[in-house]
Point group: C2
Chain length 126, copies 2
Amino acid sequence: MARFNFEGKPPLEKQEVICPLTLTQNVIAGRWKVIILWHLSQRTIRFNEFQRCLPGISKGILTRQLRELEDDGMVHREVYKEVPPKVEYSLTELGKRFIPILDAMEVWGKEFMEIKLVEHNYYISK
Amino acid sequence: MARFNFEGKPPLEKQEVICPLTLTQNVIAGRWKVIILWHLSQRTIRFNEFQRCLPGISKGILTRQLRELEDDGMVHREVYKEVPPKVEYSLTELGKRFIPILDAMEVWGKEFMEIKLVEHNYYISK
DNA sequence: CGGTATCCGGCTAGATACTG
DNA sequence: CAGTATCTAGCCGGATACCG
């Protein structure tokens, strides 16, 4: 989430007014982040499990998406010093507070699907 | 939102299982869409007004974001046949149902901001 | 006023090879 | 198992010029 950069720590007066909506959007911008957060809202997940949950994702991009979520304080990464290695990902408190958004998105997404299915004359099984 | 394509109308059985979350994410993927939807949740807006609401956006990209939202059924475009031209954008019913997500995103974004400000030793005025 | 048409650059997803 | 390093391709935002 490069657009939100406190590194320079400029005085608050000189900061641009930051929009909470844009901020939220930036945090979850990324092809896999929303669905990653949803999986983590269900349970703790290991790295390799994610590759099975997210068909087609490569190690490289999975690592990056997880790191960015970690950097933004959404995800906790727990490393167990074992052989073979074991790393577990889970939601932080901040990440858990994001769940209402996931729920709202899921509700709306289903409404959207129903409407689009009706428009295209699909039968919708209730 | 090119990833969700019903154009070919394949049988429902052959459709991939579509995730409502991913669907929602795809609809609002776009640099300006969330903030556009928020402005439209406040009031009807004309094209030129948007350019003032969204500092730095160009006509081209504004048009594209609005068209995509229109194509996805989120935004209504009302053209008044006057000279000079007048076009008003507003939320459709589907668009209005999206407002709870905007609200949840705003709440979370503010929490996120507070946490990040505290982490960087900023004083937060209550 | 409210757009199109066109071109361009950067970001980011994705693929592949390698590693502790 | 859980990554890192490197490279590439394509999309998308942005700029600019023009139009009814």
